[in-house]
């Protein structure tokens, strides 16, 4: 068996089995609640709060912003649980005691969450259309699908970076919660970016989701793939940077954990 086949197999098995092994949401009721009820709750909360606070009929702004932002549930929490779950399962020493390709091991943890996050956003859009009057009749749907996928990829890349922290600390869920709520503001999901102070605008530009949400709004407003293409490429680029940074941190933390003897600390 050649090296490529071995690594692809490791990627696929790591993807599937680590998802099943570590993600308790696979219990059908909990999974359904997280995928169906939670996006609706988040959207209803921000739609009614936002339209009440701004006293304007801008429901679509909040529906689209929160529908896309919901990918952070899989991208941030899901991916971190997949990477960090090995600490709780006590499997970290056994993983790092193998000669497995670390790139496959690392990125394999995120792949199912990309699919999962994409499904979550689609469900949120369905809520938007059926309950909150979102009109997609002028939308290039394949382009919207691509935008959702790219945005989920870049968010999962940030999740991988966060997940790396779980190799050296057991307090990573605190960091994740903070990041998730910051994304609600900084990504432009609920506040227009140009209404934010300059320093917040600058920060929003280096986060995933910002361009994905803007591109989704543009597509729903009737623009085409050509107009949003540059935004998608930048979103992808941001994901690439976070993913690469995450991998190097994963590698570095493995070394640090072996120096400190902290692989099994829970």
């Amino acid at each position: 068996m050649n090296v490529l086949t071995k690594n692809l197999r490791l990627f696929w098995q790591g993807t599937m089995l680590s998802y099943i092994a570590l993600f308790a949401w696979l219990r059908p009721v909990t999974y359904a609640a997280s995928k169906i009820v939670m996006p609706l709750a988040q959207m209803l909360f921000f739609v009614f709060l936002g339209t009440y606070a701004t006293n304007s009929n801008n429901v679509d702004f909040y529906v689209i912003g929160n529908a896309v932002q919901i990918t952070a549930v899989s991208g941030i929490f899901g991916v971190t649980m997949s990477v960090g779950g090995d600490r709780w399962a006590g499997t970290l020493p056994y993983l790092f005691g193998t000669p497995a390709n670390r790139v496959m091991l690392f990125f394999g943890r995120a792949f199912m969450h990309v699919i999962d996050g994409t499904i979550g956003v689609v469900i949120a859009f369905i809520w938007g259309v059926t309950l909150l009057g979102l009109d997609l009749s002028h939308t290039n749907l394949p382009a919207l699908g691509l935008t959702i996928l790219v945005t989920t990829l870049s968010t999962c890349a940030l999740g991988l970076l966060m997940g790396c922290l779980s190799l050296i600390t057991s307090n990573v869920m605190f960091v994740n919660n903070t990041v998730y709520f910051l994304l609600l503001i900084f990504s432009g999901a609920n506040v227009a970016i140009d209404k934010l102070p300059a320093w917040m605008q600058a920060l929003s530009q280096i986060l995933p989701l910002t361009r994905g949400i803007a591109a989704s709004r543009a597509l729903v407003a009737g623009q085409g793939l050509a107009e949003i293409g540059p935004m998608l490429l930048t979103e992808l680029g941001i994901g690439f940077v976070y993913g690469t940074l995450g991998y190097f941190m994963f590698h570095w933390f493995e070394v640090v954990a072996k120096r400190r003897g902290s692989l099994e600390t829970v």
Partner: protein, 323 residues
């Protein structure tokens, strides 16, 4: 070439203490340990809690970087050639953790096989073989969360044998197992030895080490204090007899009085519910009994026997009576 070579191994842990005024505390877990293990040998590593056994195994398994000294496994350095070492070793730490509980045993093995880059066709045959070998035939499709502790330990053995490693590190593998489970596990270890695996075993159970190991290193405070065959180690106490005395709630000052007697070499105490079993090492044998009874100062005493020393008694003497 030896399978394992350990030379002047040292490991210091550094921990930060305090919130505002932080200071670094250094703990020497392993100070100076050296030993070598021949291919196919079953080698024991004994020592009291905190002696450095698990730290040593972690360094052998490439999971911890030594502060000083070096280790080679099958000729490969564990730090510089870690991946070559990992292909040739398997390891188990005692306890139930280290498996994906929501997966079946077969899925656990399938995943770890892919981590070792095993050929899927080979794994397809090897996984049922290993499950049968460790007594889990017919249970492979059950989720691990429903397994008993002993079954999980045996699954760990199957996991560690997936890539057919030449060297195995078993760190207290029978800890927490019931007597039947521990006996079955010891049989698995003996079966592995017949397959010419090189095995390094750490254990607290002296009879286990005596029954299984070809040679034993006793370590204390991070240093090797003895290295010999079980028979050779017993010679350390061949001049002694052991007086076992059953007492009921003897206070610490009375026990210290016995320890201070000039003819007493070492004393270990086993608490058994309301009872204590004192094991007194002495050159005087049965002649020491009246003086020991006097030193117990009116404490209630049950059964008293005088017997020949065992490996455990040799161990107690070597580590200074700390059991």
């Amino acid at each position: 070439m030896n399978a394992i070579e350990v030379n002047h191994l040292k490991r210091v842990y550094r921990a930060a203490i305090g919130v505002f005024k932080r200071s670094i505390k250094e703990v020497v877990a392993v100070d100076d340990i050296s030993f070598s293990v021949e291919k196919g040998e079953l080698f024991g590593l004994l020592g009291p809690n905190g002696a450095g056994k698990t730290t040593t195994v972690k360094m052998l398994a490439t999971l911890l970087i030594p502060t000083a000294g070096n280790i080679s496994i099958m000729g490969f350095d564990v730090v510089k050639q870690a991946n070559e070492v990992r292909k040739r070793i398997g390891f188990i730490f005692g306890g139930e953790r280290g498996l994906y509980w929501r997966l079946s045993a077969e899925d656990n093995l399938r995943y770890f096989a892919s981590l070792y880059g095993a050929d899927p066709e080979v794994s397809k045959k090897r996984i049922p073989y290993l499950l049968e070998m460790v007594g889990l035939k017919g249970r492979g499709n059950e989720r691990v969360e429903g397994y008993s502790r002993g079954m999980k330990q045996r699954l760990h053995v199957a996991r560690t044998l997936l890539h057919d490693p030449e060297v195995l590190f078993l760190d207290e593998p029978t800890i927490g197992l019931d007597p039947v489970g521990a006996r079955e596990f010891r049989q698995v270890i003996l079966d592995l030895q017949t397959e010419k695996k090189t095995i390094l075993l750490t254990t607290h159970y002296m009879f286990e080490a005596d029954a299984l190991c070809d040679r034993i290193a006793v370590i204390d405070k991070g240093c090797t204090v003895a290295l010999d065959t079980p028979g050779g180690l017993k010679k350390h106490v061949s001049d002694l007899s052991i007086v076992e005395m059953e007492t009921f709630g003897a206070p610490e000052e009375v026990l210290n009085g016995i320890r201070a007697l000039p003819f007493v070499d070492a004393v270990s105490v086993e608490d058994q519910d309301q009872r204590q079993l004192l094991k007194v090492q002495t050159e005087r044998g049965a002649e020491a009994v009246p003086d020991l009874m006097a030193a117990l100062d009116g404490q209630r005493v049950g059964r008293v026997i005088v017997r020949e020393p065992t490996l455990e008694d040799a161990y107690v003497r070597l580590v200074g009576g700390k059991v």
